[in-house]
């Protein structure tokens, strides 16, 4: 599905991601973990096309997408969510989701001016897709609410729905369970699993270890920009390098 070859990103002299190679399989939950500042978010930004890598190659479904612009990568089927959920607070939840399917439509300014049939059809299609993904994430009962008035966990789900509305095959989730309570985290994990059951490949960054260990099929551990381990949760859990990285960073944090 996604093959990364020797991916490197340097800022000035500093390598935020250093020579990382990994392969993510389709229809699996892949997790990326590592101490704060290890380069996880940079890694995501590289895959999603928000930044161009300094070196290395990113291959998605056999296609070389290295350095491709963000919006083109999205159209190829890679969607993402962000650490902070970004939604338009003043409109309704459903209204927020309609734009998600925009990338699968063709209407231009001229269609808008003459209110063409194509535009009307595509608007119907986008609305239908928005309703569908809203149902999928279990929020159809709050589609009419003003987004500012819904809970943090609901906002996370809306962000998932927005990503799903783009019809992705791979979804990158950046700390999906950040800032929500344990029970909500479990529900969210169930939702992630459901996404995979419906044929979406998931790749996520997360700090909540319990969640990762029970959820992920494959884990990659990054520290100081370098991959130090990969494997199943059990393999990673018992890897001495991983234990050291985490203990080391704990000491750093305590100091």
């Amino acid at each position: 599905m996604l093959k990364i070859h020797n991916l490197t990103k340097r800022f000035g002299g500093l390598a935020a991601v250093n020579n990382v190679s990994i392969e993510f399989e389709a229809n699996k939950i892949n997790a990326i973990i590592g101490p704060n500042g290890a380069g996880k978010s940079t890694f995501f930004n590289l895959v999603a096309g928000a930044m161009a890598p300094t070196e290395g190659r990113i291959e998605y479904q056999g296609m070389d997408i290295t350095g491709m612009a963000c919006d083109r990568i999205a159209r190829l089927g890679i969607a993402r969510t962000f650490q902070t959920t970004m939604l338009f607070d003043q409109s309704t939840v459903l209204d927020n989701l309609i734009v998600g399917h925009r990338l699968r439509t063709q209407s231009r300014l001229w269609d808008v001016i003459i209110n063409s049939k194509r535009l009307r059809d595509e608007e119907k299609k986008c609305r239908a897709r928005a309703q569908e993904v809203l149902d999928f994430v279990g929020l159809s009962h709050i589609g009419h609410r003003i987004t500012a008035d819904i809970s943090q966990e609901e906002k996370k789900r809306v962000a998932f729905a927005l990503a799903l509305a783009t019809d992705p095959e791979l979804v990158l989730l950046d700390e999906p369970a950040g800032g929500i309570n344990p029970e909500e985290t479990e529900n969210l994990a169930a939702l992630i699993r459901k996404m995979v059951d419906h044929g979406v490949t998931v790749c996520l960054i997360e700090h909540k270890m319990d969640m990762i260990m029970s959820l992920a099929d494959k884990i990659m551990v990054i520290d100081h920009g370098e991959k130090i381990a990969e494997g199943t949760p059990d393999e990673v859990k018992n890897n001495p390098l991983v234990i050291e990285a985490y203990l080391g960073s704990d000491e750093d944090a305590a100091a």
Binding site: D71, R102, V112, I113, F136, G138, H144, I146
Partner: protein, 354 residues
């Protein structure tokens, strides 16, 4: 249903639109004197420009501080073509709109690669360059003297637009057309695309939206609105000078936009009318209006960033949502299903449809 809800619902109906247009059509008959009609026509012309600003700043979220400059550019394009090159009004008017679009495209392609603050600062500088050029490039613009004897719009022998009332109807027609187009854009997929960019560049790009193409489109639309309004303004006041490009006009338009409600459909019109008439009724304020407007801008962005229309829409949205919830609850109670359904269970259920 409470009276308040009924009134607020009425605001959203086509009947309200018709009522507003009828009121505008009747205004010259109820106006006390010709001067009031003139002020209203001028407010309509400014409102057109404010609708342009609303597209790039309100919908797309990019604070364009060169907007007054593009307004002046439209006015000058019309004035130069008619006075110095003997063009008839309407061809010159169309050309002025085209000038706004082309220059908007050129400026947009460069400036929109810049983010947030850089874009605002850059456009502030562009506005100032426009002012300096109009002021100093005497061969083209007549310099500080300005251009006089600009023809009024030609009425093809049917109407005389040098008269205030006919011009009022002309301005009204153009404004209604502008609002109609703005509403088409705002309510379409295109408007939603712009709005996604306003929320965040990163989010929009991750949704497969081509940032540059959409931002430039919004910018060109806004500068075209501005230059069309400027050309109309030149045909109304009949003489213009470099002062039309002063940055204070841009700041005035920001005030109109913010008072009415940034990013809303009726906000630009409401804000322009309210502030114009407020300034008129406080004549002594004309020169010092910024003593009131300056702090008002600050208070608005801190306490009422949504403006009049935006606040109304949020209030209404909340009421509708609450009403919807209430009716759902009633239905549930009536069908007497197991009352305590956990949200997790409903998630499962809803998922089966997908």
């Amino acid at each position: 249903m409470s009276a308040l809800t009924k009134i607020s619902n009425f605001f959203m109906t086509p009947a309200m639109k018709i009522a507003m247009i009828v009121a505008a059509l009747l205004f010259p008959f109820v106006a006390g004197n010709e001067y009031q009609i003139y002020v209203m026509a001028l407010a309509f012309v400014w409102a057109i420009a404010v609708y342009g600003m609303n597209i790039i700043t309100g919908l797309c979220g990019q604070l364009n501080l060169a907007h007054g400059g593009f307004f002046a550019m439209g006015a000058y394009a019309l004035a130069i073509l008619t006075v110095d090159h003997g063009w008839a009004f309407w061809p010159a008017f169309i050309a002025a709109g085209a000038v706004g679009a082309i220059l908007g495209f050129l400026v947009g392609v460069i400036s929109l690669r810049l983010k947030e603050h850089y874009f605002a600062i850059f456009t502030l500088c562009v506005g100032f360059i426009i002012y300096l050029l109009l002021d100093k490039w005497e061969e083209l613009t007549h310099g500080a003297l300005g251009i006089i004897n600009i023809p009024a719009p030609s009425g093809f022998g049917l109407v005389d637009f040098t008269e205030t009332t006919p011009f009022y109807y002309l301005a009204l027609a153009f404004m209604v057309l502008s609002i109609w187009l703005a509403s088409r854009i705002a309510h379409s997929l295109l408007g939603r695309t712009f709005l996604a960019i306003r929320i965040s560049d990163d989010l929009a790009a991750s949704l497969g939206i081509n940032l540059m193409r959409n931002k430039v489109l919004a910018f060109v639309l806004s500068t075209t609105y501005a230059s069309v309004a400027g050309a109309l303004y030149a045909g109304m006041v009949r003489f213009i000078g470099p002062a039309e490009a002063e940055v204070t006009h841009t700041f005035d338009m920001i005030t109109y936009l913010l008072v009415g409600g940034i990013g809303t459909l009726m906000g630009p019109l409401l804000g322009t009318l309210v502030i114009t008439w407020l300034t008129q009724s406080l004549q002594f304020l004309e020169e010092y209006r910024m003593i009131v407007f300056g702090p008002m801008l600050v208070v608005l962005v801190i306490f009422f960033p949504k403006g009049v229309v935006g606040s109304f829409l949020s209030w209404r949205g909340r009421r509708l949502a609450a009403a919807h919830d209430a009716s759902q609850a009633k239905e549930k109670a009536a069908s007497n299903t197991s009352s305590s359904k956990s949200s997790a269970a409903s998630t499962q259920e809803a998922g089966n449809h997908a």
